[in-house]
Amino acid sequence: MEKRNVYLDYSATTPLKDEVLEAMMPYLKEKYGNPSSIYSKGIENKEAIKTSRLQISKLINSEKDEIYFTGSGSESDNWAIFGTASSLRCKHIITSNIEHHAVLNSLEHLESQGYEVTYLKVNEQGLINPDDLEKAIKDDTILVTIMMANNEIGTIQPIKKLARIAHDKGVLFHCDAVQALGNIPIDVNKLGVDMMSFSAHKLYGPKGIGALFIKDGVEIDNLIYGGAQENGKRAGTENVPSIVGFGKASALALSGLTEHIAHCLELRNYFADRLFEDVFDTHVNGTMLDRLPGNLNISFDFIEGEAILMMLDYMGISVSTGSACSSSSGSPSHVLSAIGVPESRTYGTIRFSIGDFTTKEDIDYVIDAIKDITKKLKELSPFK
């Protein structure tokens, strides 16, 4: 078996598409003007930003001027939360127990400041029950923040229903759609969300550029104060090349969405079928129905995740351990715990995420590798 480089960690980050880099290049070279400058070199860059805003807005069906660029998906999440919270001291916020840490740790900080936070539970499939949200809303609830697609298990929440429940009680609704953008259709109008977070590097765009959709009329405080960039709502000289790249990536995502979904679904399902046929003692985490097309989250019994990951890496294959354990906390994945995966099993969990450059040959190679590796690690394992 010849060694192959197979990247199956598209949920962690994606390579830049050639067309995206191409679109960025002039802005990394001769078009270096500051977009706030009023001479030609500035104006042409201001126009480039406008174009990007338009491209992104088309992908989510918003108005162009409802898109605000940030430095990351995390910044977008923090902004939405702190920007809503800071104008109204010590109120109540609702979220889920499977959010990304950009949401959870922001809320934890607010709790330390006196805010109250309710964490909605998900079921074993990884889904929120809208009734739970209904019940959790109180008179002083100011924000509901629920992610669209989970980064570990890929499960997709019923955002439209949840947003409607929040709105019926006059509560703002924010949605972390960092994993969703470019992977499933998003229509902010139909969904009825007030704010939505995005990050370019999850859809074949550059790292270090994110966006927050803020519905026209929704007023939140700044996270970053200063110059008049982003309509005075987010200061800092604009990252023009990356903004242009984000726009191009969004345009490509929009025109290729059906194909992208079909491609990922086909390979993901092929992967799952072969895995369950050829490898024993595996379990899928999260529903297979409402799920990102490219995501597969698998627990292996009796063997440990990092060992699998490192052996796969040795064979040229890049995947994530499913357990998202930040070195500071030292605890196993809060997402896997939330859906009831036994702690011992969480350590044997791998997230495979498939993307546009994945091929059937890649999958075959990976399955063969997994067969070898699990055999080897089981021989090593003290469990019987």
């Binding site: 962690a12 009796f302 990092e306 990951l309 998202a324 605890s331 350590y347 021989e379 003290p382």
Partner: protein, 153 residues
């Protein structure tokens, strides 16, 4: 580029002394699956010398590599000398581990001590180095559970 150096990778990919014994003279098990790692060691001891060692490990790359390395070190050592083995020595022989992984080498060290303790108990031996050693008292929690988890993305 790899998180582990070549020596670690070699012991991880080609671990030495993997297995179990029919009639071990000492058995040591350390770790816990709910903590993400578990190490088992079997020892053959003749005339106070460790003549063979076999291990099985559930854990991250560095846990496996340090277990493998530890067995190669202790085979041929006297029991007294084997008891002097520290995880620092294992790490040195592995030519270093990433800082966050250093504690994973404790696993091997501890499992060996437990195996010798087992041998000492069944054979009514006494070793200075085991005075005060209580395998049931060893708090798992101090062995922080971060072996082999990468960060959220």
């Amino acid at each position: 580029m790899n998180m582990y150096n070549d020596t670690v990778m070699d012991h991880f990919m080609n671990p030495r002394n993997v297995g179990e014994m029919e009639d071990p003279d000492g058995i040591g098990i350390y770790g816990s699956p709910t903590c993400g790692d578990l190490m088992q060691i079997h020892l053959k001891i003749e005339d106070e010398v460790i003549t063979d060692a076999k291990f099985k490990a559930y854990g991250c790359g560095s846990a496996i590599a340090s277990s493998s390395m530890a067995t190669t070190i202790i085979i041929g050592l006297s029991v007294e000398d084997a008891l002097k083995l520290t995880n620092g020595e294992i790490v040195d022989k592995l030519e270093g581990l990433p800082e966050a992984k250093i504690h994973c080498s404790v696993l091997a060290d501890m499992a060996i001590k437990k195996a010798i303790f087992d041998y000492a108990e069944t054979n009514n031996k006494h070793y200075k180095a085991l005075e005060g050693f209580d395998p049931y008292e060893m708090v798992q929690e101090e062995h922080v559970c971060i072996c082999g988890k990468d960060e959220e993305k």
